[in-house]
Symmetry: C2
Subunit: 197 residues, 2 copies
């Protein structure tokens, strides 16, 4: 029996080339600041591939940049499987805080601020950020279901606090590890500020 | 007796011209993305003044942009004067959330991300953001002193959560007023997520 996997027509895809192309796109964006200033030629040249390789693989910049951001993000852990909501959130935000330290994040921020290409930001929000936010919501809903968390929480506000807190804390160089940052953020939000006495 | 105020040499300063210059600097930055791409000529031309007017008033782009960001920020209320810490924080973050909706914020974000002009971001952080952060710390310290808040809080983490939460919530168009956003953020952090039973 032939166990060779079926191949799509054309040359086989190389994962190394894909990664080099996606990194090159974000690097160039960090340097040039404008999506419009990043040409497919420049991405191809930085990644050491031909333009045709890029066009064969992505329909355009919207797809290319969306996949670049998706690739830059590490997978999030499973949540709601019996651990405490605190441990779930610390696990998720340790990954988030780690990802935010990548030097390629500059490119991601520029994409999300682009006024000339709002469709790219919208697509990244839908295809990359929304499914990741859903993991946080899942953890919170599991915590409510188990009676650990208040049932009247505004979940969007909780998400905004944790994501925003991770974002701001990643901008200052405190020497804390991603896990330490995540623990401070999650414990402060979970326990609240008020003295209970 | 002559009650005419003493005048500095040269033409009197016009507050309207100053405002036009500072707005023009941030507008152009929002359009061109690069600090280096915003020339003093272009700022002068957009503001309808001569280059000399700008050079007479600001030593360079670092001073110009720092004052532009400072001017864009509304004054924060007095805190720690007897109201509850919750009311202090809501009052402060209502102003913060309002400011974050300005269309000129795009320019501020670009300044804070500039890799080519880190000295501008550092100066804005020192001269504009740090004194405003200090108001939040004052409110929190007053809350601890009155026994309203836990004494073991990590105040930097609380600041990062609230500032980051305000930042993220201002990016989505939910139709909420700045005060509603501020109340959701502050009440969620003050009360915490946990069910108390």
């Amino acid at each position: 029996m032939n166990t060779e996997p079926t191949r799509a027509p054309g040359r086989p895809r190389s994962p190394e080339a894909d990664t080099a192309i996606l990194r090159a796109a974000l690097e160039l964006l960090g340097e040039h600041k404008h999506v419009a200033a990043v040409s497919v030629e420049a991405v191809a040249s930085r990644a050491g591939v031909g333009k045709a390789t890029i066009y064969r693989r992505w329909s355009g910049k919207e797809e290319l940049f969306t996949e670049a951001v998706a690739t830059l993000r590490s997978p999030l852990p499973e949540v709601g499987q019996g651990a405490s909501v605190r441990d779930d959130l610390v696990a998720v935000f340790t990954v988030v805080c780690g990802d935010l330290q990548s030097p390629l994040e500059q490119g991601v921020r520029l994409l999300m601020m682009s006024e000339t290409h709002p469709e790219i930001a919208a697509r990244i929000r839908r295809d990359v950020f929304a499914p990741r936010n859903e993991v946080v919501y899942q953890a919170l809903r599991a915590g409510i279901a188990r009676g650990e968390l208040r049932a009247d929480l505004d979940l969007t506000t909780v998400l905004n606090l944790l994501v925003g807190g991770a974002f701001v804390s990643s901008r200052s160089d405190t020497g804390q590890s991603p896990r330490q940052r995540a623990e401070l953020l999650v414990d402060t939000v979970c326990d609240g500020l008020r003295a209970h006495g």
